[in-house]
């Protein structure tokens, strides 16, 4: 136990001296004017991609369903504004590989005509199933970045009789303040969403964890929640990765989620504050999820701040709206700790995108890695209690099974280890590589076992057939012999008889 752990109760994680959240967090929320083109990806969530319901040339309205959910874990997609469907096809995905994925491209008409939304006066008169259905129809997914569809999650919570909702207002990633912004400006929406979700899940109370570096958000949320005794606003220490569900659960309840299990198994369900606000809009106002608050930040951005932007807006349009004052050295979707580097700016934003960062060369100082000096900084920083330096050494030695046995699967890829490493070792990359390699080997093993089974089955079949052939031949032979014997007997009998 370190001195910090004694003082704050939190021994893991990192906290940068400058988290770069301000001044962007303090700038009032801006609404982005509708861009000329939007690309709405069909896979913006965990699960099966949505299936397009429109054709090229169709006119769509704001809030119109343009692609339907497929399967149990999936989410539909809606048009963020009115316009014409220009294309249904591949666009560059927000992924470092720059590989394409399917999207519906809309040329907007600037009229912003909307479909009519089904409002509900009293959401608490609806049954939990009806609420889940409205959440599903609105295409809501976890907006903290995990993008798990919210409706099946709520159903899961009911199945496990979850008693407490954990509402994640941690927003521990440096630079980002979209959750902060929604709590400051739309606290009533968030609290209403929490109450609706409690009703849908059947939870009796909710705890909202907010990092103590957001005093304005804490004050606004306390004010919004003052009439609801079952909702508790809990300031938590500002320590990355506080926004990870496992860490937030540990700090707020003192419980640990068993390795490999979901939080629901211990009676808790974690949802993000922005997701709760989206649930409020969907259930009360019938408004699907087609826009969200995105933090545009980084040293290269001229006017950093939070922007209410349509989902599917191209990163280049978003950056043009906030302005660039210098050439960015790296574009990141998400936060600097876990976000993905973008190959260029012609990629659409997705539902889970809480921030776009245009970072300068000074902000991302790339230093070539040097050998590990076993300083143990990574061991102290790891929120999961892993020994990153040992994992990395095993992986570099090709000992994937040993790394797996040491708990590689428990790694969150939060990046604390790589952040503190004085040798600048690419630890997260090493672990991602190893996870992929272990997965590939498991698949290969499964495949070869399947092939073996098939080969064995074939062998057995051939043997059986051969055996059957031999048996059939033997049977036929015996039959023939019997027939011959019988025939011989027939021939002989009279003569015998005659002889007798």
């Amino acid at each position: 136990m370190g001195i910090r752990e004694l003082l704050t109760g939190v021994g893991w994680g990192v906290h940068p001296h400058n988290d770069h959240k301000r001044p962007a967090a303090d700038v009032p929320l801006r609404v982005m004017p509708t861009p000329a083109k939007l690309c709405i990806p069909l896979l913006q969530h965990v699960g099966a991609p949505a299936k397009p319901l429109v054709a090229v040339g169709d006119r769509v309205l704001r809030g119109q369903l343009i692609a339907a959910a497929q399967g149990n874990v999936s989410a539909p997609v809606h048009a963020p504004t009115s316009g014409l469907v220009a294309a249904i096809g591949e666009v560059t995905a927000p992924h470092p590989s720059g590989l394409p994925f399917a999207a519906i491209t809309i040329e907007t008409d600037g009229l912003d005509e909307s479909v009519s939304f089904k409002t509900v006066e009293d959401p608490f008169s609806l049954t939990p199933d009806e609420i889940s259905q409205r959440i599903a129809e609105a295409g809501i997914v976890g907006l903290g970045g995990a993008t798990f569809p919210s409706a099946p999650k709520a159903q899961l919570g009911r199945k496990h009789s979850v008693h407490t909702l954990i509402i994640n207002g941690g927003e521990c990633e440096p630079y980002l303040s979209s959750d902060d912004s929604i709590m400051r400006e739309r606290a009533d929406d968030v609290i209403d969403g929490v109450r609706i979700l409690m009703h849908a899940v059947g939870a009796s109370k909710a705890k909202v964890g907010i990092e103590d570096n957001k005093p304005e958000a804490i004050a606004a949320m306390r004010k919004a929640a003052q009439d609801f005794a079952q909702i508790e606003i809990c300031p938590v220490p500002a320590r990355y990765p506080m926004g990870s569900d496992r860490q937030l659960v540990q700090v707020l309840t003192g419980k640990e989620v068993p390795s490999g299990a979901r939080t629901a198994t211990i009676g808790l369900l974690v949802n993000n504050v922005s997701t709760c606000a989206a649930i409020h809009h969907a259930v009360r106002h019938g408004e699907p999820l087609y826009r969200r608050i995105v933090t545009v930040n980084g040293g290269a951005v001229a006017q950093p701040g939070n922007v209410l932007a349509p989902i599917g807006v191209l990163v280049e349009d978003l950056l043009a709206f906030a302005g660039l004052k210098s050439e960015p050295a790296r574009l990141v979707m998400g936060g600097p700790m876990m976000g993905v580097a973008l190959p260029h700016a012609q990629v659409p934003t997705v539902k889970g995108c809480g921030g776009i960062l245009a970072l300068t060369a000074e902000e991302i100082t790339v230093v070539p890695p040097s050998p590990c000096i076993r300083c143990g900084s990574c061991v102290k920083a790891c929120p999961m209690g892993l020994v990153p330096l040992e994992l990395s050494a095993q992986i570099h030695a090709g000992e994937y099974d040993t790394a797996d046995a040491m708990g590689l699967d428990d790694c969150l890829a939060c990046g604390c280890c790589a952040y503190v490493c004085p040798s600048q070792m690419p630890l997260v990359q090493t672990f991602s590589h190893a996870k992929g390699e272990i997965w590939r080997r498991a698949q290969q093993k499964k495949r070869s076992e399947f092939t073996k089974q098939l080969a064995q089955a074939r062998q057995e079949r051939l043997e059986r057939e051969a055996r059957e052939r031999v048996e059939a031949a033997a049977r036929r032979k015996a039959q023939r012999a019997a027939q011959q014997a019988a025939a011989a007997a027939d021939n002989n009998t009279p003569s015998e008889g005659a002889g007798a």
Partner: protein, 356 residues
């Protein structure tokens, strides 16, 4: 600017890094050594400075030669500062007026066989400075136990002549150290209650005989506290090492003061303080988990006491640290932090009692 023109190289997260590097760590440790070293130059005069400079130069030369042989980048690795620190730590553990070749042999040995032979920084099993000190002590016992009384610093030039062996050290200036004195008297059958120690062996402010940078314990402790404050080291190893030494010393002294030295003598003499803050805390050769570090520290302290009390050599810090270095891989293998959501044994924690 035109956002369409942006085309970038992508990299894995995280995209932010703490402003920390190996050379920054080494520089901080060196800065923490400055007060004790500077005071040693004042106490023991210019021979101490020359020996310090020669040892560091030899240590760097050894590192550079090995890097060149291995075809590795020489300049970049030398700049990380680890070879300088190794030389520095070795120098402060040498007798201040030791001849120049002690520094050269020790410095070369530390970085070549002590470090680069294992594969360079991060790969050595033993603390390079301590393994060099022990090699020198075993090979050249006369020169390595030739202590001088801090009195009258010779001029810079005379100092160089002493270090180079051109000017003999007058016998009146040499003396045994406290630990050495006590061990010799005990061996002669004089118990600790009857031994007569000259004043210059236990001036805790530092003006006493001893290794170059080990005599001013308070300045070393100050440097150690600075390292703790800068978060270069954590309290686990230094505190437990001092406890591991203090507890048996106190118990022994309480049981038989004629046979066992008291606790403060143990803590304040020899290399105990330097060892606790600067030697045992070496990242590469100590365990990486907190629990492992506590065991390592206690072991270093206890072994120091055992060697000082029962061993053939008066001082035991270097031996104790090397013995615990040898145990470090085993400690790291056996003692790991508990993984979140798992038991100490590595199984997922049970759900019983967890649901409402």
């Amino acid at each position: 600017m035109n956002t369409q023109a942006i085309s970038l190289q992508t990299m894995a997260s995280p995209h932010a890094r703490a402003a920390n590097s190996v050379s920054v760590v080494m520089l901080k440790v060196m800065a923490a050594l400055v007060p004790a070293t500077a005071y040693a130059f004042y106490l023991f005069g210019s021979p101490a400075f020359w020996l310090w400079a020669i040892t560091i130069a030899a240590s760097m030369a050894g590192e550079a030669a090995c890097l060149r042989l291995a075809g590795k980048p020489v300049k970049a690795v030398l700049y990380d500062g680890s070879a300088i620190l190794t030389g520095w730590l070795l120098a402060v553990s040498l007798p201040p007026w030791a001849p120049w070749w002690i520094g050269v042999v020790g410095g070369l040995f530390a970085t070549t066989l002590g470090k680069q032979a294992f594969g360079g920084i991060g790969n050595n099993l033993f603390n390079p400075a301590m393994i060099a000190r022990i090699m020198l002590l075993v090979s050249f016992p006369v020169q390595m136990t030739h202590w001088v009384v801090p009195a009258g610093a010779p001029s810079l030039f005379d100092g160089l002549r002493i270090t180079l062996g051109q000017m003999p050290v007058p016998d009146a200036m040499t003396s045994a150290s406290l630990l050495g004195w006590a061990k010799t008297d005990m061996a002669r059958g004089i118990d600790l209650l009857h031994t007569h120690l000259p004043g210059h062996v236990f001036d805790w402010n530092g003006a006493r005989v001893g290794s170059l940078g080990e005599t001013s314990v308070w300045l070393i402790a100050l440097g150690g506290i600075a390292l703790l404050y800068m978060r270069v080291i954590s309290w686990h190893i230094p505190v437990t090492m001092l406890i591991g030494l203090a507890v048996p010393a106190a118990l022994g002294h309480a049981a038989d003061p004629a046979r066992f030295m008291d606790m403060s003598t143990h803590l304040l003499s020899g290399g105990a303080m330097l060892g606790a803050f600067f030697i045992a805390t070496d990242y590469v050769t100590s365990p990486s988990s907190r629990a492992g570090q506590i065991i390592f520290g206690l072991g270093c302290g206890l072994l120091t006491w055992v060697i000082r009390t029962y061993g053939g050599y008066p001082e035991g810090v270097a031996f104790a640290v090397l013995l615990m270095n040898a145990l470090t891989p085993a400690i790291d293998r056996l003692i790991k932090p508990r993984v979140y959501g798992r038991t100490m044994g590595g199984k997922p924690i049970s759900l019983k009692g967890e649901t409402k």
